[in-house]
Symmetry: D2
Subunit: 492 residues, 4 copies
Amino acid sequence: MSEATRPDDGLDIDLDGDTLREECGVFGIFGHPEAAAITALGLHALQHRGQEAAGIVAFDGKRYHSERRLGLVGDTFSKRDVIERLPGSAAIGHVRYSTTGETILRNVQPLFAEIQAGGFAVAHNGNLTNGLTLRRELIRKGAICQSTSDTEVILHLVARSQRERFIDRFIDALFQLEGAYAFVGLTNKKLVGARDPLGIRPLVLGELDGHYILASETCALDIIGARFIRDVENGEIVVITESGVESIKPFPRMPARPCIFEYIYFARPDSVVHGRNVYQVRKRFGAELAAESLVEADVVVPVPDSGVPAAIGFAQAAGLPYELGIIRNHYVGRTFILPTQAMREVGVRMKLSVNRAVIEGKRIVLVDDSIVRGTTSVKIVRMMREAGAREVHFRISSPPITHPDYYGIDTPDRTNLLAAQKSLAEMRDYVGADSLAFLSVEGIYRACGYERRDPVRPQFTDHCFTGDYPTFLTDVIGESAKQQLSLLAEAS
Amino acid sequence: MSEATRPDDGLDIDLDGDTLREECGVFGIFGHPEAAAITALGLHALQHRGQEAAGIVAFDGKRYHSERRLGLVGDTFSKRDVIERLPGSAAIGHVRYSTTGETILRNVQPLFAEIQAGGFAVAHNGNLTNGLTLRRELIRKGAICQSTSDTEVILHLVARSQRERFIDRFIDALFQLEGAYAFVGLTNKKLVGARDPLGIRPLVLGELDGHYILASETCALDIIGARFIRDVENGEIVVITESGVESIKPFPRMPARPCIFEYIYFARPDSVVHGRNVYQVRKRFGAELAAESLVEADVVVPVPDSGVPAAIGFAQAAGLPYELGIIRNHYVGRTFILPTQAMREVGVRMKLSVNRAVIEGKRIVLVDDSIVRGTTSVKIVRMMREAGAREVHFRISSPPITHPDYYGIDTPDRTNLLAAQKSLAEMRDYVGADSLAFLSVEGIYRACGYERRDPVRPQFTDHCFTGDYPTFLTDVIGESAKQQLSLLAEAS
Amino acid sequence: MSEATRPDDGLDIDLDGDTLREECGVFGIFGHPEAAAITALGLHALQHRGQEAAGIVAFDGKRYHSERRLGLVGDTFSKRDVIERLPGSAAIGHVRYSTTGETILRNVQPLFAEIQAGGFAVAHNGNLTNGLTLRRELIRKGAICQSTSDTEVILHLVARSQRERFIDRFIDALFQLEGAYAFVGLTNKKLVGARDPLGIRPLVLGELDGHYILASETCALDIIGARFIRDVENGEIVVITESGVESIKPFPRMPARPCIFEYIYFARPDSVVHGRNVYQVRKRFGAELAAESLVEADVVVPVPDSGVPAAIGFAQAAGLPYELGIIRNHYVGRTFILPTQAMREVGVRMKLSVNRAVIEGKRIVLVDDSIVRGTTSVKIVRMMREAGAREVHFRISSPPITHPDYYGIDTPDRTNLLAAQKSLAEMRDYVGADSLAFLSVEGIYRACGYERRDPVRPQFTDHCFTGDYPTFLTDVIGESAKQQLSLLAEAS
Amino acid sequence: MSEATRPDDGLDIDLDGDTLREECGVFGIFGHPEAAAITALGLHALQHRGQEAAGIVAFDGKRYHSERRLGLVGDTFSKRDVIERLPGSAAIGHVRYSTTGETILRNVQPLFAEIQAGGFAVAHNGNLTNGLTLRRELIRKGAICQSTSDTEVILHLVARSQRERFIDRFIDALFQLEGAYAFVGLTNKKLVGARDPLGIRPLVLGELDGHYILASETCALDIIGARFIRDVENGEIVVITESGVESIKPFPRMPARPCIFEYIYFARPDSVVHGRNVYQVRKRFGAELAAESLVEADVVVPVPDSGVPAAIGFAQAAGLPYELGIIRNHYVGRTFILPTQAMREVGVRMKLSVNRAVIEGKRIVLVDDSIVRGTTSVKIVRMMREAGAREVHFRISSPPITHPDYYGIDTPDRTNLLAAQKSLAEMRDYVGADSLAFLSVEGIYRACGYERRDPVRPQFTDHCFTGDYPTFLTDVIGESAKQQLSLLAEAS
C-alpha cells in the first residue's frame, strides 16, 4: 500500500480510499509532575497511528480533567493553556483515526465515567468483535450509551460489575470481551494496562525518572528519553500504583499472536516491536522479496515513504542501486480538496511526483509495502511509464490481502480488496506493470526469524493473508457489522 | 435588579455577579417539514432566557441529529449548513444559561439517549431539588453519567424503568422527581411536554398550520406566526403524535403555583404568562409602587431595560414625566473584558451612560425591577449624583429578595443577598439614595389581580421574598448543594 | 427610519436596505500612558456610528502600531493582547460602516503613510465630493493607491506637498479637498483634528487628566470620565502637542452648517452636539410634530429604538399615554441569515415583535424618526393591523427625504427614496396607515431653537430634505459617482 | 543544514534559527480558463520555497481579484470558494517565507497597483541590494509605501515612469534595480517574466494546452502536466500576450551566474535547474565528498530529508550501505510550541528520532547538506552518540558558509555563522564528531560538470562560500541593512 493514501493526504475521493487505517495509539504515565505534557509528547510520537483526533485525561488527586479534540496532537496539545488545563501527576492519552463523518467529538477518547468506586478513564487500541452484541444487551438493561464507540462498553461493564474492588470489576469486564484490545486506564489510585489474550494489539511498559509509562510503541518512550522495560504480555494486566508495578494474568495461558501488520505498515520504523526493530524487519521483507522474485533491472525505486525500508533491503540483497525515483510532497494538508475538475485530475501528483531523471529509459523495480484496492498503484505505475520507464517491475513486500480485518484495522470489504477479486496475472494487468510479485506468507515468517508459519498455532495474527481469524467474530456472524451503532448522528 | 447585569454584558467581574439568571428556555415542534428552522426561530425569541448555549435535536424518522453549541442561537442556527444537518419533521431545542466554567459542551441540551424502545431526546427548564440524590443512587447501581446536568437523571430513570411503553416509563420517572421542571421530549413517535405538579416553570401549547408546538413563552409562538392554544397545566403531560394531542394528568390535582419571577424579570414583556400580558403586569407593579411609596419628584427614570415598564407605570400613576435619563449601549459584547486597570474602573459606563441633560438639577425617581447584591445599584445611584441629580429616590418594583432559589434561578447565597443582610435603612445608605422603597409582597399579588396572598395556598412560588419553599429540598437538606456534581472537569 | 434597519440586524436582504448609514466615528488622544485602551473605550461609545470595522493606530515614540479588523470594537479591542500590541502614549481610532463587499481590510482606517517628515496616520469621518477626481489625477502622476477609500487621497496630498513642515503640508492638502470631513491625524509629534469649512461632520475637543482628546461625539468623552472642552469649529485645525493645543483657521471665515441628521438619527441621545442635548432635540421634534399634526388617539407607540425620544416628546405634548407597543429583540446577531424560505418570511419579527395587549383595539400614533425606502414601515404598520390596532396614525419626526446625501451618509439614489417618488397620500397608502404626517422643515429649525430656516445661509446642512447642497459636487457632476474606485476587487 | 530546521517545524526557538530560508516562489499563467486553480497547484508544488504566506491575483478582463493569506497554499487555496473568488484567465501567485513578526498581510505578495495604463500585479523572488535606498528616495518624492517589502519599489518605479507603454515603464524600472530578482507580473493585457542580469534567482517557461506558464521551478510544471520549454535567460524579459511569447533583452549581455544554493538546498530534487536534475547534482555532491574525504565506516546515514540524496551518492561512491539511522516525524505542526520546560528539552526529538538498531555499535558517516549555526548539528551528533554509535564522521555536501547572503536567502550575520567563527578542527570539536569534512568549492563545480571554478567569471553566485558578491551592495555599504524598512509595525 502506498503511503500516498495515508489519511493525512485528504485525497480520499481521488484515491478511492486505497488505504489501511488503524484506529489508535495509547499512552499513559503515573506519578510524573508534568504528566499531561509528557503524554502530549508521547502521543505526538504515536501520531502515525491516528491523525483524526487526540485526547488526554489527567487526574490531579481530586478531579479528572479532559481535553479531546479533532485534529493532530500538535494542533491542540502544543499549547500552554491546554496543558495547564490538565493538571495532575497521572494522565492517559489517545490518538485515533476514524472514517469521515463518524469522527465525532463524543467518540474521541479517552472516555470517562464516574463509577461507584470513583472515576475511571480509559483509552483503547483495537476492536471488540462482540462490541455490538454487548452494547445491545446493555441498552436492554437500561444503560445509556453516549458514544458510538465500542470502547464505551468496557465502561459500562466495569460500572455494572457487582465486585467491590476496581481491579476485580475490570477483570469481570475483560472476561466478557472478545477481539483485540490494548487498554490504558486511569483510576483515582492506579494506572492500568491490559492486552487481549492473544496480544493482537501492542503495548509496552517503560520508565522515566522512576515513573512508569505505558505506550503503544517504543518510539513514544524514545521521544521523552524514557527507558523501555518490556512488552506487556498477551493476556496480562499491569497495575501501576505508588507502590510500583503489579502483574495480573487472569486468563488461561496461551502463546501470543501479535498482528503482523505492525511490522508491515503500522509501527514506526524506529520502534522495537516484540523484540524486533521494525526498520530491520522491513528491510528483511525486501531482502526475502528479492530472493523470491528477483528480476533484471537498473534501479530499485521505493514508493515513499511506506516502501522505503523494503526497497533498501531489496536493493542491498539484489545488488542494485537504490534511487529516489518518486519525490513525496510533505506539505499536502489533511483537507486539500481539489477545487475544480482540472485540478482533480491532478490526483496523486499533489502528493507524489516522478523524478524523471532517475526513471527515464530505466528498467525499474518499484517497491511498495502492500496493495489494498490497487487504485493508487495503477496511478503510480502509469506515472513511471509516462516518465519514460523502460520496464516497471512491481514488488510488494507483503502477501496479497484477501480478507478484511476486524481487530482495529479499517480494511475495505472483500469486494474492494484487489487480491480477493483478481488473480496475480489479472492484478499485474490491472496495475499495468511488466511484472508483479508479492512476498509469500512464508517469506514473512522467515523475515521475522521463524523457520516457517506454524499452521496450528501461527506465530502472528495474519488472517488478512490467510483467512485464519484468531477469535470468534460474534458481531459479524450474528449480523452485519455495518449496522449503525446509534440512532444519534451528531456532527462534531 | 438592573439589566445592566444581565449575562450578556460580560462585566461579571466588575459588577460582582449582581444578577439573577434563569437556566433555560425550551421549544418543540412536531410534524413540520422545516422543524429545525422553526425551532431555531423559536429559540431566538427565547434567547433572553439563556445566552450561554443552544441546542437542537431533530428526528428524521430514522435517526436523531443533534447540534449543540456554546453561544447565541444566531451564532450557530442562523447558518444554512447547520439547519441542513438537522433534517426531519420533529425537533426540540433549548437555550441555557450557566455559570462560567460549568457550561461545557457535554451539558448543553437537549440530551439524548438510546433506550430499549428507541431514541429519547429531552430539554429541561427548571431544577430538581433531589437531582444530586437521584444521581448518586444511579451511579451506585452502575449507571454512567456523562454530564453534570441534573437533566441527565431523567434519561437514566426512563431507560431503567421496567415498564414497556415509553409513556409509562416517562411517568415512572416523573414520579421520582422533586422540584421544578418544564420538559419537552422527543421520541421516535412523539413530542411530549410536562410541567411539575406546581407548574413552577412555564410551558405553553401552540399551533402552526396544524402542527403542534411547545414553548416556554408565547413570544416564541408570535415570532413564527403560530397560534397560542393554552398553557400546559401544572402536573400535566401533553403527548403529541400524528393523531393529535393527548393530555395525561398522573399526579393528584393541586392548585398551580407558578414562579412570580417570570412576571418580575424573566419573561419577555410581550409574552402572555398564565393569561396575563407581562408588560401590563410590570406596569401595574410600577403603579402599585407609586401608590405605596410616592414621593415628590421631577422625573421618573428607568434603569434600562429591566426597569422600563414599571417606570412607565409609575410615571403614569404618579402623573410625573417619564424620561430616558440613562442610555443603554447595546453593542457590548458578551466577552468584553476590560484590558487595563484604567478601563476596569470605567465599569458600568460600558453599558449604561447618564443622559445628563435629563438628570441635572432634578429630583428623580429611579425605577428598577429588583436588587440582588446591590453592587450595581450603588454605581447607578452614584452616576445620578455625579450628573447633578438633586435627589435620587430609588424605587424597586418587587419585594426584597431574602432567600435563595432552588428551582432554576441562579441566586447568590443569603450572605450575598443585600436584603438578607441589611435593613431597609441600611440598604438605602448602602446604595446612597435619598430614599429607597420596595414593592410589598401584597402589592405583587394585587398587581396580579388577587385581593391578597393566600397564606395557606399561595398563588405564586414566592420563597425568594417569603422563605416559603413550595417543595421538599432533599439535596439541600441532605447536604451542601454546592457539592460537585462530577469528578470530571471538562472544558468545552 | 426604523432602527430595525440598522446595519447590526443582518436582515438587509429582507428589509431591502431600508436604512441610512453613516460611515464613521473618530477618536484620538495624546500623551496618555494607556492611549490605546482609552481609544478602544472611546470607539466603543461611538459604535453606533459604524459597526462593520474598527481600527487603532498608536505611536510609541519610535514606531507606529496598527490593529484594524472587521467587526465590532469589542470583538477585537476588548482583548488584552491586542491592546498590548498598541503601545505608546498617542493613539487615534476609527469605526466605520460600509456596504457589504466593499468593507475590505485595506479600507479599514486609520490609514498610515510614511512621509518625508516621518509617519502620518489619519482617520476620517465624512466624504469628499471631489475624491474620485483627485484620485484619478494622483494616479496619473504616478501615485499608487492601495485602498478604495477617498481618505487615502489626503495621505497622498500631504506626502506630495512641497512644503517643509507637516502642518503646512496638511493645510496644502486640505485646500484641495471639497466636501465633508472631520479628521483626526497622528504624527511623530502631534495629534491634529480638522473640520471642513462648513463643519458638516462633528468633532469635539475634550480633556482627561490633562491629556487632550478628539472625538466625534461627547458620549465618547463621558465613557472615560473626560471633560468636554468645546466643539472644534468649522474650518478649524487643532494641533495638540506636548505644549498644549493650538488652533489654526486657514479658511475664510463662514458660518457653520452642520448636518441635521446628527440630531435626527446619528448621534447618541446622551451626546451634546453643538450645544444641544440630542435627546432633548428629538423630544422637541416629537413635540413640534404633535403640534403640527395632532390626531385623536389612545396611545403613542415608538418604533424602537430610533423613534423613542420623539414618541416621548409627542406623548407629553399631546397628553397621550406613551406605551411600549413594539418590543425589540437585541440578540439578533449581525449575520443572522434566515436559512429557509419559511424563515425568510418571518422578516422583521426577528427584530421587532408586537406587544399585542397594548395595541389591540386601540387607535395608535406610531412614531418613527424617518422614512427612507419605506419597506420596513409597510411591515411595521401591517404588524400593528394584525395585532388588532383600530387605527394607525404614522408620524415621522423629520421631513420627507427627497435627495441623496454625498457627505458620508449612505442613502439610496432618488429612485429608491420613497418621498422622492410618491406624494404624501401615495406614501400613506403605500405604508397602509390611516394617516401619515412628517415634521416640516421649519419644524426642524424651530425644534432646534431657530425662528426659521435662513434661506440664504441655512443653519444646517439639510439637502436631503431641500435639495440645497452646501458644496460643489465635482465627482457627481463630472460623472457617475458609482464608478468603481479601483480595478482591484479584494476580499477581506 | 538539517531540514529539521526548516521553517515548518516551529522549533525555531529551540533550534536557534539554525537554518537558511529563501523568500519566495513565483508562478503565472496566461489564457487558461482555470488560471487561479492552476496557479494554486503550481504554488503547492513550490511550497518548499516558502511556507509562511501565499497569494494569488487573477484578472478577469475587467477587474483584478486578490487573495493573500498567511499559511500554507493548501490552507487557503484548496477551498472552492477561494478559487471562485479569483475568476479570470490570467493569474500570478507567490509563496513566501519571512521571519516571524514581519510576515504581515500587507507584505504578502503578489502586490498590486493601479497605474496610469491600467492595473499591475507583481510577484518577486529575490532581494534588491538597493531596495532601501530606492525606497528612501521614493518617499522623499512623496510616494506612499504601504508594505515593508522591497518589491513595492518596482510598483512605484513603474507608476512613476514617464514612458507611455507599460513595457517601457517596466524596463525603465528594471534599470534602476540592483540585486537579484525573478519577477512575474500581470497587466490588463500581458503576463511578463523577468530575471536579473546575472540570473541569480531561477525562472522557467512552460506550456499547458497552448497556454504559457512562468514558474520558479520545473516541479511546478510537472504537477499540472505542463511541458517545460526553457529557462528564462539572465537579463531577459518574456512578454506573454494573446499573440504568443516575445523576448526582450534590454541589458548588455553577460554570462549567467545562478545561485548555487538552488542545487544545494532550495530546489526540489525532481526539478531541473539550468539543465541539471537537482537530485542527480546532489548525489554527485555526495560522490565528490566521498572522493575528497572518505573514511572507514560501517554505514552511511542521512540527516533527513535534506541530506538524503547526497548520502545516497556518498554510499554508492564509497561502497558503503545506506541506512535510515534517523527517522523524521512529518507530523510536527508549524507552531508546535513545547509547553513546559521538560518538553523544551526534548527539542530535536520532536522532529528526528534515532533508529537505534541501525546506529548501535556502528561507525557511521552522517551526511547533511550544510551547516549554518551548527546548533542542530550538535544535537544530532549527540543523538548518534547516545544511541551507541562507535564513531561519528560528519560529512557536509557543501563548503563552509562564511558570508551572509543579500539576494533572497535569509542567513544569520557572520557572528552567527559557525564556519565564519571557527576553524575546521574547532567546528569538529563543537559538533562533537570524530571527524568533520565539507565538500570543497572546487568539488561543487566539478559535481556540476565544470572542470573548475572560473575565478574571473565564476559560473555560480557562490559568495556564501567565497565572499565574492556578484553585484554592488548599495544598501549594505550605505548603512546597516538592518535598519527598519518602515515606521509602521503592523500585526497581521
